[in-house]
């Protein structure tokens, strides 16, 4: 019997596709490990540079892409003078209030409901159809209903944002219930724990990583829905600012508004990541 010839040395592509050896202190093959801070900084700087270059060379009309300087100037101008007779900070505060009150409401109702749906087949059976029914519908589609049912003041705006935040939070909490290992649950029961104690001492803490992730995803949906919520009968807010500026072709205000929304959302996400490191340092470690 002859042995088959040894396999050929891997080609260039095979070598590039393989994980590289790691530096001391790292673990070989962990997906996506490594510090990204500097790359991210460079990436942002390059994008800003390209933006500046394109406008400075006059490749695009300012109506389509205003220059970074004009956006910055617009920001200072609106900071000083306000927008449509409302101070800039008031626009920021009212939008932040709408998003965060909707977010808090969604957490207050969604987290217990999601946990209950994970724990109880009865509650899951009742609430699964309505949530799965409305979840994929774009908020713009039911915005008219919100206005007809709840009027044009704050209620319908917050409710619209609430609905978009609610579904991901419920789903996250629901699937978080499955995070506890059955051995952990059995251990608690073998000490004589009641169902409530198992919930409180085992299932809830082990669901925390998924709950925090769901909250991060949820608030993202909230900011996404902000503009839709401020489409009708709003006279204040960042979404209103962007929308009305776009109607008057003030592109620099539109871009400025987008940046402000992005920066607030990103700052909150950083806070959530910090909380995650503090609250669940054990995530994925056991």
């Amino acid at each position: 019997m002859s042995l088959s010839p040894p396999p050929k040395a891997p080609g260039l592509f095979a070598r590039l596709a393989r994980a590289r050896p790691t530096k001391p202190g790292e673990i070989y093959g962990v997906p996506g490990q490594g510090n990204t801070l500097w790359l991210s900084v460079v990436s942002v700087l390059v994008m800003l540079f390209v933006w500046w270059l394109v406008t400075a060379l006059g490749l695009v009309k300012p109506l389509f892409v205003p220059s970074p300087q004009s956006v910055l100037n617009k920001f200072f101008q609106i900071w000083r003078e306000g927008f449509t007779n409302t101070p800039f900070l008031e626009h920021v505060l009212i939008s932040t209030f709408r998003v965060f009150s909707a977010f808090l409401l969604a957490c207050l109702i969604g987290l217990p409901l999601g946990l209950a749906m994970g724990m109880s087949p009865v509650i899951r059976g009742i609430f699964d159809p309505p949530i799965e029914f409305y979840r994929p519908i774009p908020p713009l589609a039911y915005l008219p209903l919100m206005i007809i049912w709840f009027g044009i003041d704050e209620t319908s705006k917050i409710l619209l944002i609430f609905l978009s935040v609610f579904a991901p939070i419920v789903l996250g909490a629901r699937s978080g219930v499955k995070s506890a290992a059955i051995e952990q649950i059995h251990a608690a029961y073998s000490f004589g724990a009641t169902r409530w104690q198992v919930m409180r001492h085992v299932i809830l803490p082990s669901a925390m990583p998924e709950i925090l992730t769901a909250m991060r995803v949820g608030i993202g949906f909230g900011w996404t829905t902000l503009v839709a919520a401020e489409m009708v009968a709003a006279t204040k807010g960042l979404g209103y600012m962007v929308l009305s500026a776009s109607q008057f072709l003030q592109t620099s205000v539109v871009i400025m508004g987008i940046f402000v929304i992005a920066i607030i959302a990103f700052a909150f996400d950083l806070l959530m990541r910090f909380l995650e490191r503090r609250l669940v340092p054990w995530k994925g470690r056991m």
């Binding site: 290992a181 051995e183 952990q184 059995h186 251990a187 608690a188 029961y189 073998s190 000490f191 004589g192 724990a193 104690q197 001492h201 085992v202 803490p205 082990s206 925390m208 669940v280 340092p281 054990w282 470690r285 056991m286």
Partner: protein, 262 residues
Amino acid sequence: MSLNIDHVSVIYPAADGRPPVAALSDINLQIAEGEFVVALGASGCGKSTLLNLIAGFLSPTSGALTLDGRSVFGPGADRAVVFQKHALLPWLNVLDNVAFGLQIQGVPKEARYRTANEYIGLLGLDGFQGAPVYKLSGGMQQRVGIARALTCDPKILLMDEPLGALDALTREKAQELILKIWGETRKSVFFITHSVEEALFMGTKLIVMSPRPGRITHHFDLPFSRQFQGGAPARQVKASPEFIALREKVLNIIFADEEAVE
């Protein structure tokens, strides 16, 4: 304390077109005060099913289980379980993990920490009270699991391959530690293992189980753990002719079972 398993069978119902499976068939077993009963057998022989029955996670299809004359119904603090792994709570430190059972039973903080600290000392974990459990080695995590099981002063310790995930050296040390603690606490133990040597060394009574249907085929009374407690070194006990002879005998039984399956 006496645990009585009387003509117990567990039959998993038919599913997905497969016929019903007899996980355990007509099991009879008595565990008396202070006994260390080891269950050994090929995979699928129902060792873990038997442990789940005693723990109360599973109820028998027929037969009766009694602990001190009272029927076993559901899990309870009189039977503590040490799991193979994944059973510690990573959001609690070592002290709170060990005190977890007492916390469940509503013991006030000071009292439960006092008891937990005793067992932390007994298991050689002193100085690690504040350490997060996910940073400990596998052997230390398992000791935390054993300490946690002991704090509630159970009548019987149920150990489901507690040393299966440990390396050979740590495992031998852990075996000696468990025997030491068994000697000091005088608990009854029901211990599952895959290792014949571990079974012979640790038990006072060995049951060998066979698969399809899961049943007890052999009983042995073992002298070796008592020899170790009498002061004989572990390696010497394991190297004695009687130990080796019995090891070969039990290995033959288990290999015969494995071959019968194939």
